[in-house]
């Protein structure tokens, strides 16, 4: 992947510490506009830390994070979110005591729900209509994941950061989620997606970057990775092979 003009998000030499430990050791990464970039790698490689650093939830100690020409380094998380970046964390970040409606409402602009946006989201996730006034804590894991993604896209976003959305889901739920991600992809939404399930990665990814020990060790087009079994084995090893 080259640093082309269509880069929506660019990380250059990003180092992040958590407590006394350095987790990211100079991450260089690009997410191109209108494309789905898969961030792959084994557990503990630094994928979640990368997303959290982009959101400002952990501060980068060194390096540049540039979103559509604007540096994010000095911005606080709410400012970053208001630039149009939505984050779906690994634990989904659902407010269990609030209803589905209230969870969604929190992510809307101050005017509240815009009917076309709401219709679009509810068409994509019809389950939410049924559970609209239920406590979000009462949803199943898959339903919570749907809610988390629906909440992220209830307003038009310029970039989605999604962390392992299929983790722990049943195959049926994974199928539904892939369908939703493909719809977002068809709408040209820019997505940086952390995923361990290679089937999901090959279904939705345009580009990929593989992380190991806090660095990006390989980037390229997803099609090239899908076609090259030896590269898959070399880069992703057992952790991905298990999911293939």
């Amino acid at each position: 992947m080259t640093a082309g003009e269509d880069a929506m998000l660019r990380l250059e030499g990003v180092h992040t510490d958590i407590g006394r430990y350095r987790i990211l050791h100079g991450v260089d990464l690009i997410a191109r506009r209108g494309r789905v970039t898969m961030l792959l790698g084994r557990n503990g490689a630094g994928k979640t830390t990368t997303l959290r650093t982009i959101m400002g939830l952990w501060r980068a100690r060194q390096g540049q994070i540039v979103f559509d020409g604007k540096s994010l380094a000095a911005l606080e998380t709410p400012h970053i979110a208001r630039l149009g970046i939505a984050y779906v964390p690994e634990n989904m970040g659902i407010f269990g005591k609030l209803t589905v409606r209230e969870n969604m409402l929190l992510a809307t602009a101050p005017r509240g729900f815009a009917q076309p946006n709401l219709d679009r989201v509810l068409d994509s996730f019809p389950m939410l209509k049924v559970k609209w006034d239920s406590a979000a804590g009462s949803l199943s894991g898959g339903q919570k994941q749907m809610l988390a993604i629906a909440r992220a896209i209830i307003e038009p976003r310029r970039l989605l950061l999604i962390d392992e959305p299929t983790k722990g889901l049943s195959p049926a739920m994974v199928g539904q989620l892939v369908g939703a991600l493909l719809r977002l992809k068809a709408e040209q939404t820019t997505i940086l997606l952390v995923e361990q399930n290679f089937h999901v990665a090959e279904a939705v990814g345009d580009d990929f970057a593989v992380m190991d020990e806090g660095r990006i060790i390989h980037t390229g087009a997803m099609a090239a990775l899908i076609a090259d079994k030896a590269l898959q084995h070399r880069l992703l090893g057992l952790s991905m092979a298990a999911a293939v």
Partner: protein
């Protein structure tokens, strides 16, 4: 089906506890004193709720256990004395309208003064110790002492008299049960404040952000809300509520001293623990339970009165170890 009954029971039992205690007390006490004690318990509970609700919100949203909260109760009570002195003409007349107007002015003044002090306190002291629980405890206990001493410097060491307005003295009779007029007024005011708080939390966007923040602060920020600004607002509201509680408590006791806030502290912490730290609904039910228990046990077994709320807390924690309405852990 058996499981669903159990779930239903687990869900609704905390709500049923208060009516159950009220009903059980009826045959034990007898109808006449029961009504008097029930109104007294509800009034005490609602006044405690005003103080405790601010503290539980501050803890729930900010993870700050503010041991100086009692100081804001004290400030509210003293400001009431200061405000009502020049309004003595209004409070000594038997006009209910003028009396209530005087109390409203005092209530607003107590809330504004305590809330403003809360703002300064958050900026100067609490802001330095977010995320450091041990330092929070030390600095807020220290601040409590300092504020109480400042109160003595400003208002003097002697207890001050705060007579009830003329038309709120004495009692009205419901059947053969005497009910103190002031208690009815305090109950009405307390319920109105509790309702306003409920509507704010349930019907407004800011209330929604506060409720979400109690569950998961980080995600609230990731959705674009400046949680620090919400913190300041909640801290001010919490201390303003404490000031209102101090006003009503001081007026109820008819004397105010620098320990008036301290006298509520243990009960307030019991309420927080019973209700579930961070839960406003739990705080309301906990406060009512504590008010009723204090009054019922004080009548039935006066020697047990002091320890009754500790026993209540122990019993509830044995049943629900995280309180009646536990919130998410941060």
């Amino acid at each position: 089906m058996k499981g669903s009954w159990r779930d239903l029971l687990r869900r609704w039992a905390p709500y049923a506890l208060t009516p159950l205690i009220i009903l059980v007390a009826l045959p034990a006490i007898g109808a006449g004193p029961w009504l008097t004690l029930t109104v007294a318990g509800l009034t005490m509970g609602i006044m405690l709720f005003l103080v405790a609700s601010g503290l539980t919100l501050i803890f729930g949203l900010m993870d700050v256990l503010n041991f100086a909260h009692a100081a804001f109760v004290t400030v509210g009570a003293y400001v009431t004395v200061t405000v009502l002195r020049p309004l003595v003409g209004w409070t000594t007349q038997t006009s209910l309208m003028l009396n209530l107007l005087a109390l409203l002015v005092a209530l607003i003044a107590a809330a504004v003064a305590s809330g403003a002090l809360g703002f300064v306190f958050e900026r100067l002291i609490i802001r330095q110790v977010y995320g450091a629980p041990l330092r929070q405890i030390l600095i807020t206990i220290g601040a409590l002492t300092v504020i109480e001493q400042l109160v003595i410097v400003i208002w003097g060491p002697e207890a001050l008299v705060l007579p009830k307005p003329a038309s709120l003295r004495g009692s009205v009779f419901i059947g053969s049960s005497p009910i103190e007029t002031y208690r009815l007024a305090a109950l009405a005011v307390g319920l109105a404040v509790a309702l306003a708080m409920h509507l704010f939390l349930r019907r407004t966007r800011l209330g929604l952000v506060v409720r979400a923040g109690v569950e998961n602060r980080e995600m609230v920020q990731a959705l674009g809300y400046h949680i620090r600004r919400v913190f300041i607002g909640v801290f001010m509201a919490g201390t303003a509520l404490a000031g209102m509680g101090g006003m009503m408590w001081g007026q109820y006791q008819e004397t105010v001293n620098s320990q008036i806030g301290d006298s509520m502290t243990i009960l307030v912490f019991i309420i927080l623990i019973i209700g579930g730290l961070g839960s406003v609904g739990g705080c309301f039910i906990g406060a009512i339970l504590v008010g009723l228990t204090t009054n019922y046990v004080g009548f039935l077994a006066p020697k047990l009165a002091l320890g009754s709320n500790i026993l209540l807390m122990a019993a509830i924690l044995l049943w629900q170890p995280r309180g009646l309405f536990p919130m998410a852990e941060h």
